[in-house]
């Protein structure tokens, strides 16, 4: 018996991606196999590498200084509730869980280090006000007139998926009628420089899970899911796009930056999410992987899938959609959750682009080449990040 008060469903999806605003532009671009990655020098002269940027954003709000991350978040949130026709109180009392790693870092110049007071006097004061990551969630609330619990989640590249998991927990606690959960991150010199210093950037478009992978590309974007209980959604006659059947969060606790080499923490996370979803390993039709394209991540992740799906009758289909528009950091988990739901809706398994020589694995069906069409009742989105954090989300198609 399904408990409709404890079943979490997705009733709205808002996306801002390098394809444009809206899930439909993302879906159309990905179904066409369009890659948005471009040389970084076009945007940031002097920077090597490859990035994917969002084009011009509409002007959404006046009167405050918002960071680019805030703008992306507000645009995605507005898109997510564009079709909302439920009671105004449900939206006003909603919770907001927004993930970010960059926050307002994009607004701060390196010159601040020569003397903060002087930098503030010369125009930096209002720009620095957008620095705290909590601003991202607060901005969404201000923009949409939402007054419920608001929380920013900042757990490196697992942030976006964790925001969705924590938002779902809030609904289990009946602490809000709905939750807007997702992530947002802007491109900025700070993060480009950081990953460059770690020699983690692929100079050309990345090649996740390929034996010749050299690193990641940074992208930007935002995605927001509208979550509510099935009971609440049914009562207000909302169209259910997907069911969030299970979620889990774990930590490797092995290294500050590198993943556990056997992917043990991630495998444990996947198992727990499947347990919560009451879902067998045979039922999962697709895994949208973290798949950054870095040597260490992709091999650890491969081991995690081999372990957690061991015993399946058929190899588990896996792809990394970071090959389309890069790694959007704190937004990645949310964007990939949106892509996973899109895959289920369209019955389309997106291949990893440029995957010509995959990591050898008997347990994994690496999706590459042509788009694969097949019904997809259950799919999973997996995220991991610096600090050993892991998150997994299991989505199912809504029951008719």
């Amino acid at each position: 018996m399904i408990d409709a008060q404890k079943t979490i469903v997705v009733t709205g999806i808002g996306v801002v991606s390098p394809y444009g605003i809206g899930l439909s532009s993302l879906q159309a671009g990905m179904l066409a196999g369009q890659c948005c990655l471009k040389p970084a020098t076009e945007l940031y002269p002097g920077f090597a590498g490859t990035v994917a940027a969002v084009g011009e954003l509409p002007s959404l709000a006046e009167g405050h200084r918002y960071s680019r991350t805030d703008w992306l978040a507000m645009a995605a949130a507005r898109d997510a509730v564009a079709d909302f026709d439920g009671p105004g109180s449900a939206l006003r009392e909603s919770g907001i869980f927004m993930a970010t790693t960059v926050g307002g870092l994009s607004e701060i110049d390196a010159e601040i280090s020569r003397g903060p007071a002087a930098w503030y006097r010369h125009g930096g004061l209002s720009r620095a006000a957008s620095y705290p990551v909590s601003r991202v969630a607060a901005s969404v609330g201000e923009h949409l007139g939402i007054e419920g619990p608001a929380c920013a989640v900042s757990v490196a590249c697992a942030s976006g998926a964790m925001a969705i998991a924590l938002g779902a927990n809030l609904l289990l606690d009946q602490a809000a009628p709905m939750v807007l959960a997702g992530g947002s991150d802007a491109l900025c010199p700070f993060t480009l420089s950081g990953f460059n210093s770690l020699q983690a950037l692929h100079p050309e478009p990345c090649r996740p899970f390929d034996q010749n992978r050299q690193g990641l590309n940074i992208g930007e974007g935002a995605a927001v899911l509208v979550l509510e209980t099935q009971d609440h959604a049914t009562r207000r006659g909302a169209r259910i796009l997907a069911v969030l059947r299970g979620w889990a969060m774990t930590n490797d606790a092995t290294h500050p930056t590198a993943p556990h080499k056997d992917g043990a923490g991630l495998a444990s996370c996947i198992r727990r999410a499947l347990e919560m979803a009451e879902c067998g390993i045979e039922e999962v039709g697709y895994v949208n992987a973290h798949g950054t394209g870095t040597p260490l991540n992709d091999i650890a992740e491969t081991h995690a899938y081999e372990n957690s799906f061991h015993g399946r009758s058929r190899p588990i289909p896996v792809s990394s959609t970071k090959s389309y528009f890069g790694h959007c950091l704190g937004a990645a988990g949310a964007l990939e959750a949106a892509i996973t739901i899109t895959a289920m809706q369209a019955g389309a398994l997106f291949p990893t682009l440029r995957l010509t020589d995959p990591i050898e694995s008997v347990g994994i069906d690496w999706l590459r080449g042509e788009l694969r069409r097949q019904p997809l009742p259950v799919a999973m989105s997996v995220s991991a990040g610096f600090g050993g954090s892991n998150a997994a989300l299991v989505f199912g198609r809504p029951r008719s």
């Binding site: 002097g46 007054e147 900042s154 420089s193 610096f386 600090g387």
Partner: protein, 349 residues
């Protein structure tokens, strides 16, 4: 109280009172004079005096860490010790770490900007970059104690610490963890302090040794407080309090929400949690006075904890628990200048 409500069994802190396990001294503190950077005159704040972490937690290596991560390690170790937790007896894959912060690893973020300014964006420091991420302190706590459960770092305008307490309790209640180490804290740096000053948010007491009890503004502070939450029932555990229902929100009808939260309960104590905003005076933190009558003893927001802004509620709670003599029902209550609120029911043991 409901049996599924978790209990607070351990406290550790690194605050201007020093590194301590359990409750803290109750006498008020004076702010210290800032000497870590050159100031244009007297500048004061509630600062953590330098100490050697390994002297408090033997074996702790913090040489490569910023102060926030080092304090998180010390505070979490003291809290687990205070709770009498022998981690070898626990399934560490089911222990969560939940960290609340306003500014995260701002010391190393500033250091990274400094390296970019000095060497250009192509010459930044690879060791520093990962440590600038907000979740670095929580991940160091996981790494040091081998805690493999959910590891979450959050921030919430005005109410990060309250939110972390409530969300940790949710992890326990929903079976996603068996034990949670909840931490909240921030470090004070030149850039943060000078931003407050430029935005005219500081109390005149930051610039003078003269007492000015009624002046607006706040005195910035720093530190980390850690608390151990677990389900009730462990045989050897001493409990400070059980954590009941709670709520935080950016706005809306705080009174009716708190009324709903309290039900028929009349709290014996109200612990006020200011949030660092200059107008969050103690008086504004009492919207429920008419709901609960004149009976409850009110513990005003403490200046030292208010200085920690949105990460300050754990220190407010710690100070209130340290001062509060009795058993009974308590309400931890925070208000923000923008109309937000946080409220959390507690049963004190």
């Amino acid at each position: 109280m409901n049996a599924i409500w978790p209990v607070l069994t351990g406290i550790g802190s690194v605050t201007p009172y020093g590194p301590l396990a359990g409750l803290v001294p109750t006498e008020p503190l004076e702010p210290s004079t800032i000497t870590a950077w050159t100031t244009p005159g007297l500048r004061r704040a509630f600062l953590v005096e330098p100490f050697r972490p390994a002297a408090v937690v033997p074996g702790l290596k913090t040489r490569r860490l910023d102060r926030l991560s080092a304090w998180a390690l010390v505070a979490s170790s003291l809290a687990l010790r205070d709770a009498g937790i022998d981690l070898s007896q626990w399934d560490r894959s089911r222990i969560a770490v939940f960290f609340a912060t306003g500014f995260g690893c701002v010391e190393l973020t500033e250091a990274f900007f400094q390296s970019a300014d000095a060497n250009g964006w192509a010459g930044t420091d690879p060791i520093t970059f990962p440590e600038t991420l907000h979740n670095a302190p929580a991940s160091h706590v996981a790494l040091f104690h081998d805690l493999r459960g959910p590891n979450v770092t959050i921030s919430s305008k005005s109410f990060a610490a309250e939110s972390a307490l409530l969300q940790s309790a949710s992890l326990l209640r929903n079976g996603q963890a068996d034990l949670a180490v909840v931490l909240a804290g921030d470090t004070l740096t030149q850039a943060v302090y000078e931003w407050y000053e430029a935005a005219q948010l500081l109390s005149p007491a930051c610039f003078s040794h003269e007492p000015m009890p009624t002046a607006d503004g706040f005195i910035p502070g720093e530190g980390v407080v850690a608390m151990v939450l677990e389900p009730a029932g462990r045989q050897t555990a001493r409990s400070y309090a059980a954590l009941g229902a709670g709520r935080w929100a950016m706005g809306g009808d705080a009174r009716s929400s708190i009324h709903q939260l309290l039900g028929d309960i009349k709290p014996d104590f109200i612990f006020c949690a200011g949030n660092g905003a200059p107008c969050s005076s103690t008086a504004e933190a009492y919207p429920v006075r008419d709901l609960v009558g004149e009976d409850p003893a009110i513990y005003p927001a403490q200046t030292v904890a208010t200085g920690m802004g949105e990460a300050g509620a754990l220190l407010h709670l710690l100070l209130a628990l340290s001062k509060c003599p009795g058993l009974g029902q308590a309400l931890l209550l925070g208000r923000s200048a923008q109309g937000g609120y946080a409220a959390l029911r507690l049963e004190l043991f």
